[in-house]
């Protein structure tokens, strides 16, 4: 399944689900508004894709690659 970590710069996608992992990061992602069904876009990618900047609503959220890989896409 594709995740945000696989997104190219500027590409839009819709969140399908958040991998739970140890629970803390996924909770934080949800709290920051990364919910299933949300339309997101990777607006910036540092070299190697870590960290990357994810647009959620009109906020720009910087996350690391491992976290991005927890956000699964439709």
């Amino acid at each position: 399944m594709r995740t945000v970590a696989d997104l190219k710069k500027g590409e839009f996608a819709t969140i399908a689900s958040i991998t739970e992992g140890d629970g803390e990061v996924s909770l934080k992602l949800l709290e920051m508004g990364c919910l299933p069904g949300c339309r997101v876009r990777v607006s910036q990618r540092a070299t190697g894709g870590c960290p990357l900047c994810l647009e959620v609503d009109s906020a720009r959220l910087t996350i690391r690659r491992e976290t991005a890989a927890q956000i699964q896409l439709l």
Binding site: G23, V25, K28, L30, E31, G33, S58, A59, R60, T62
Partner: protein, 709 residues
């Protein structure tokens, strides 16, 4: 369920409530049960402390400044050890002033970093601190309404009286978003004020709501989920899974409530931020600009701050001379001239640098650039076990480790935060600067390389690089030993770029200086007093005997008056308590090239390293006329080792000392803050010992190598 409400009518209705009269007529399921309550909610009790709460970057601080003007202070909330900005406000209609607090920003009440944890405790466990807020104004960002209201949805489930302040409406308009504030108020069953901290729009209305909050006449907002929010310390078993479920439920409800509240009226969505980020976060240009910014700050802090520092320094020596010329010769005036005034002067001299560095760091944070720096550096910093967020503490560490270590609270991951705290003192703080200035003047010739670059300046710059190098190297080394706990994640919002709030920046820099002067000032004053006493008095008759012996020796050798006086002073110092102490530790520092006089300075420096210069001044001036730095320098330059006849401050010794002061953790305030922030004596002691050992080894190596060349 919510606590049952006693059936009391509202005592007073504020005129601004009229806009919300339709509050009962919403058809959202979970709130239905509460409709009966909204109308006849009893007044809360009167409150005195009201806090601004909200997500980071919502314009909360700018709102706070607009509400309080220049009357704020740094308050230390007892019990939770957090410094927050506070201000007492006199509002019309209130008999006593209220205290408005600006709490650190947070996204939710399940804290992910130390600073969020502190705010969460204050809000959910008001008994945690006697100064916990009794009512809150939630600051919500109109450009990010859904997420701002998520925090609201959690706070609505507490018992705190709440008013919602909607900020950034102008920016939202620029993005083509239109917000229906009245509808929002109706849907939430809360009072909503649209306010702009910069233009002052809506401030009068918000002030009225503050009065209402203070008088307890704001009705309880409608709770969100029908269960009150659990207090974290009472329900540690509440799993992340349960919290995630509640989060989804809150967002689902928010989606319903927000339907139609915000409309996208135009499609001009590209904010200048997006264009700027294209350059500032660019893999090449981004770093180039970052380095340029760093360079500019260095220039400002070291070139610009030098002028006021020199002026302050000159002022202090002028004042000292004035005192010594006009005061009668007594122990009190000697204490003043030799102990207290140079001690206080030593603190004052740092103010320009700390002020500039705080103001410039504040500028980077305020405009939103600091978040970009974190984005740019995270990848590199992770290799050293740190986080991009560590850049802020490390950078602030160049001014002073104490606020820098507190700034590490924003780091989500415990290991990354701990490592940042442990290595920050390696960053060469401004207290080291006067020490380096004196030592470099002694060891490095005042010449220019390539005609423009001062060699002394280059050596100083080198010291900063070495400090940074050791900070990163130590972090890397510690990373191998410190167990990783929890997920090493970074979650950082890149805020919209905005113009800085100049007045607020200057205000905050001023407050930081004030805290520094008061905190460090106390330590330095105490140390210089103690030092002066121990250098002026000795056990039993030792001082008298030494004085007699020196006078006889001077007579026998027919020394000129000046030299006889110097001999007398040294003999007295050696016989004093301080001299005895210096002699005791001399064997430990001989291998580094230091004599017992430097030993005294080293011991004194473990309270605060900046006392080195003052100590030297005291050591070389006790019993004599007080000095200016120039004369201190010339005295140190001519000082000879009595046993070997070589100059005491030859380059090998001076460099060995520079390295020692660069690497040793000589600061009681840092020790105290590390203990407080890590919650452990172990880490604080380990840091102190580890850095002392490292400093000893490196100084030993430098001295032994250089002395043989």
């Amino acid at each position: 369920m919510q606590q049952p409400f006693p059936n009391q009518p509202e005592t007073k209705k504020a005129p601004s409530l009229d806009a919300f009269e339709g509050a009962d007529s919403i058809a959202v399921e979970p709130r239905k049960a509460l409709e009966s309550l909204v109308g006849n909610t009893p007044p809360h009790k009167q409150v005195r402390r009201i806090a601004l709460v909200g997500n980071p970057n919502t314009g909360k601080s700018s709102l706070f400044n607009a509400l309080t003007g220049l009357h704020q202070k740094v308050g230390n909330l007892a019990g939770v050890t957090v410094d927050v900005f506070e201000a007492d406000l006199n509002l019309p209609g209130l008999s006593a002033p209220i205290t408005l607090q600006d709490l650190p920003g947070l996204y939710s009440l399940s804290p992910r970093s130390a600073d969020e944890e502190i705010v969460t405790r204050l809000l959910l466990e008001p008994t945690a601190s006697s100064e916990a807020p009794e009512a809150i104004v939630i600051v919500a960002d109109a450009t990010n309404l859904r997420r701002s209201l998520f925090l609201y949805s959690q706070l609505a489930d507490t018992n705190l009286p709440i008013v919602l302040a909607l900020t950034m409406a102008d920016v939202a308009t620029g993005l083509g978003l239109q917000t229906n504030t009245t509808l929002l108020a109706t849907r939430l069953g809360a009072r909503v004020v649209s306010v702009n901290g910069r233009s002052g729009e809506g401030l009068a209305e918000l002030n009225k709501e503050l009065v209402n909050l203070a008088m307890g006449t704001v009705p309880k907002v409608a709770p969100f989920l029908n269960t009150p929010l659990p207090v974290p310390s009472e329900t540690p078993e509440l799993t992340n899974k349960a919290k995630a479920k509640a989060t989804m439920a809150r967002y689902q409800l928010l989606a319903t409530l927000l339907e139609g509240v915000q409309k996208q009226v135009t499609t001009t969505r590209v904010h200048v931020t997006e264009q700027l980020d294209r350059v500032l976060l660019h893999p090449i240009w981004g770093y180039a600009i970052f380095l340029l910014v760093l360079f500019a700050i260095f220039q400002a802090v070291f070139t610009l701050a030098a002028y006021p520092m020199d002026a302050l320094d000159a002022g202090v020596s002028w004042f000292t001379q004035l005192l010594s010329a006009n005061l009668p010769d007594s122990w009190l005036s000697r204490l003043l001239v030799e102990g207290i005034v140079p001690g206080i002067g030593g603190v004052l001299v740092f103010i320009p640098q700390i002020f500039l560095l705080s103001a410039l760091t504040g500028l980077l944070e305020d405009t939103g650039y600091m978040a970009r720096v974190i984005f740019l550096t995270d990848r590199t910093m992770r290799r050293f076990g740190l986080s991009g967020r560590s850049v802020v503490p490390l950078f602030s560490g160049l001014a002073c480790s104490v606020p820098a270590i507190m700034a590490a609270r924003t780091i989500e991951n415990r290991r990354e935060r701990l490592l940042t705290i442990l290595v920050t003192p390696f960053m060469s703080c401004s207290a080291r600067l006067p020490v380096f200035t004196v030592l470099i003047a002694l060891a490095v010739p005042d010449i220019y390389v390539l005609g423009i670059l001062s060699l002394q300046g280059l050596v100083l710059l080198g010291a900063y690089f070495i400090g940074t190098f050791f900070a990163l190297a130590a972090a890397w080394l510690l990373k191998q030993f410190v167990r990783a706990r929890g997920n090493a994640y970074l979650m950082l919002e890149l805020p919209l770029f905005k113009a800085p709030r100049w007045q607020a920046l200057l205000m905050e820099a001023y407050l930081k200086c004030r805290v520094f002067v008061l905190d460090a000032g106390k330590v330095i004053l105490a140390v210089s007093l103690l030092l002066w006493l121990s250098a002026s008095y000795g056990p039993g008759l030792a001082m008298d005997r030494a004085r007699l012996k020196a006078t006889e020796l001077a007579k026998a050798q027919k020394l000129p008056e000046a030299e006889a006086a110097a001999l007398l002073a040294t003999a007295e110092l050696e016989a004093s308590y301080a001299g005895h102490l210096g002699r005791v530790i001399e064997p430990a520092i001989r291998p580094l090239g230091y004599d017992w006089k430097i030993g005294i300075a080293l011991i004194a420096s473990f309270a605060a390293r900046e006392v080195f210069v003052g100590t030297m001044a005291t050591i070389y001036s006790v019993g004599q006329a007080p000095d200016q730095e120039a004369t201190l320098l010339s005295r140190m330059r001519t000082a000879k080792d009595l046993e070997t006849g070589r100059p005491v401050y030859r380059p090998s010794v001076a460099f060995s000392l520079i390295v020692f002061y660069l690497l040793a953790q000589q600061c009681a305030s840092t020790f105290a803050i590390v203990r407080r922030e890590t919650g452990s004596w172990g880490w604080a002691t380990g840091q102190l010992l580890g850095m002392a050992i490292l400093a000893w080894v490196c100084s030993f190596a430098i001295y032994q190598v250089m002395d043989r060349l």
